[in-house]
Symmetry: C2
Subunit: 374 residues, 2 copies
């Protein structure tokens, strides 16, 4: 049991410039919303509670978005000779977004895309999905029908099959309409080996398009904000885009879909796991004007806002232009940009160079920015 | 959207002797607790909503507890020659049990055992698990620590590795402490092919031990019932027992772990999928005296109460004694018994021959017997 202390009462400490310092023990004796934010508290929960208890195999500690694993008969292994063999990729995600339906998607599309993307960014070809539903009694059957229909079309578009499922029903006030946990299985072809720990100084960092669209689209509905233009979630399956990138740049170091915690979350993971610095160019980061405006209105930083159809990729310097071209040749990568570089300065830190030339640390989100956006 | 009608107000219609009649369309315009019971309403939800919408691949419609699937490189398939090749097994389950801790287990052990068992009853060797947590804000961190520790010990005992996970946090009154969705991946060795549709007249039906222990143990805590003896959940991983049975009887037709919906649920599935009758001998069914007594007190039928560590198996008549012996040689099968036969009379129906020689239909549970026991 963790030790209660004064800080346990403080569940939203705001962004902390020292966010990347190691945290010796859980500061909370109860779960708070920030533990699900994808920022520092999520990181703390994983490192202090889940990993020590659960990681018997060592696979969890790799902290990838998916596990890649050997699979096969003793006499029928999938590996080639003298290179990394084909492996199984396995991932899971729970979806608790509110509202269930939002511009550009719904919880069903999100559940399919999120799991497909967690496989794809590991270099896997997504094959099979499972879905476990936790339904709240009194949910209109028509809402469930809409969600399930949109899961099916998302599966068809991504080329995956939903092959197994489960349904539980909880009483009113014990859920929130629909929660969905999806898991996915994919095949990582022989020879592919991506890792968040593989970045090297000089590597280029790319994103496939504008940041923050999903989080702000959901938040706008929830807060009843009205914007002049139609802001829509970017929820999309990235497996077509990742395959195109990997064909063009087989030496890609790693990929991430910057969901909860936003681009900041993915880059801080990268800096920590690879023991490198990240130098980000503010002027190069694609952000829609309406997202920027909404962020100002809501007091949010777009680097922390979730995306559900954007790819972050790290490639060797000499592959940067080819990677950019490959991304831009795909409909989901039209607005791709090189947004930064991996450095050997400031290891473990993400540093943003602002439009006016200033430098600031972009730490992991310390508390809770946008709850229940995925 | 389903058509609202008068019956939508009735969410617990009780056991219906006509339970096995086909139901043309959903009778509910809102989700009710019974849709999660594992009985007729769950069946209806699956057949009328999930399958038509989601089953693009045809795998869901097999209605097994797990999907068994081809997996491998084009140039490195797992199959042998001229026989059923090795396949991947994939399954998922959501766990919403209340209370989180109960005699003989907790939600963490249950989540591991349930998923391991759904793989094992398909003839798979369970390998990898995923876990997605939906935590309610204010959950004591110590409760989460206990649950996670017991997941780890359950994984170690079952010989599986938990390799990937996710955590979401929802606000108070949007959850119930901890919900867990686990998924599992296993390997079905070449040559094995079990199916709920494979039973033939004359086959023997076995159960590995006493029925109803889990459901009554949970219910007893929830209702504050006091029993003279210690009634404990039977939550256990069945993969050791299933391997022992399959070694002794490779011709085993199918296996099930009779969880929600109890033995009645599994046998009705069998009768329907195989197009056979099931003749059950009441006097042969092992039930603890204290479970029988509690069922009488609570007005429950032990055939409908959930088990979390019991195996139901169907084997050819000539293998029945060998199967019984194999089960009894395993610690989890000490109280195994042959409880009935597959017949070609009464196709689609489960008929119980009572101790005094009467015959009655044992239909699928129509409404809700024990909510949130798993």
């Amino acid at each position: 049991m963790s030790t209660p202390n004064e800080e346990s009462k403080d569940d939203g400490p705001g962004i902390d410039a020292m966010g990347s310092c190691p945290v010796p023990q859980s500061r909370y004796d109860r779960v708070v919303l920030g533990h699900g934010s994808g920022g520092q508290l999520t990181n703390e929960l994983i490192r202090l509670l889940f990993l020590p208890a659960l990681d018997g195999s060592g696979v969890l500690s790799r902290l990838e978005d998916q596990a890649t694993l050997p699979f096969g008969d003793a006499d029928g292994a999938l590996g080639g000779e003298g290179r990394v063999g084909a492996r199984l990729a396995f991932t899971t995600d729970a979806f608790v977004v509110q509202p269930l339906f939002f511009p550009g998607g719904d919880i069903g599309r999100l559940a399919v895309h999120g799991t497909v993307n967690d496989l794809a960014v590991g270099g896997a070809r997504p094959l099979y999905l499972s879905a476990a539903f936790i339904l709240e009694a009194e949910l209109p059957m028509g809402d469930l029908e809409r969600v399930v229909a949109s899961m099916r079309s998302a599966c068809d578009e991504a080329g995956v099959a939903l092959v197994t499922g489960d349904t539980k029903v909880v009483g009113r006030g014990r859920g929130d309409g629909i929660y969905i946990a999806t898991s996915g299985v994919g095949l990582v072809p022989a020879g592919r080996s991506l890792s968040i720990g593989a970045a090297r100084a000089g590597d280029a960092i790319l994103v496939s398009g504008t940041l923050g669209d999903h989080g702000i689209a959901v938040m706008a509905v929830r807060e009843g904000l009205e914007f002049e233009t139609d802001l829509r979630s970017d929820s999309a399956a990235l497996n077509g885009l990742t395959e195109r990138l990997l064909e063009a740049c087989p030496g890609t170091r790693c990929m991430r879909d910057p969901t909860r915690g936003g681009l900041s979350g993915s880059l801080n993971e990268l800096a920590e796991a690879s023991g490198v610095g990240v130098a980000l160019e503010e002027s190069a980061i694609p952000i829609r004007d309406e997202v920027r405006a909404a962020c100002e209105m809501l007091g949010l930083d777009p680097l922390y806002v979730a995306n559900e159809g954007k790819l972050m990729a790290v490639v060797p310097a000499e592959d940067a232009d080819r990677a950019l071209e490959a991304m831009r040749s795909h409909p989901l990568g039209r607005d791709a940009a090189i947004v930064g570089r991996v450095t050997d300065e400031d290891p473990g830190l993400v540093i943003l160079r602002s439009r006016i030339g200033g430098r600031r640390v972009v730490p992991l989100l310390a508390g809770e920015q946008l709850p229940r956006i995925c």
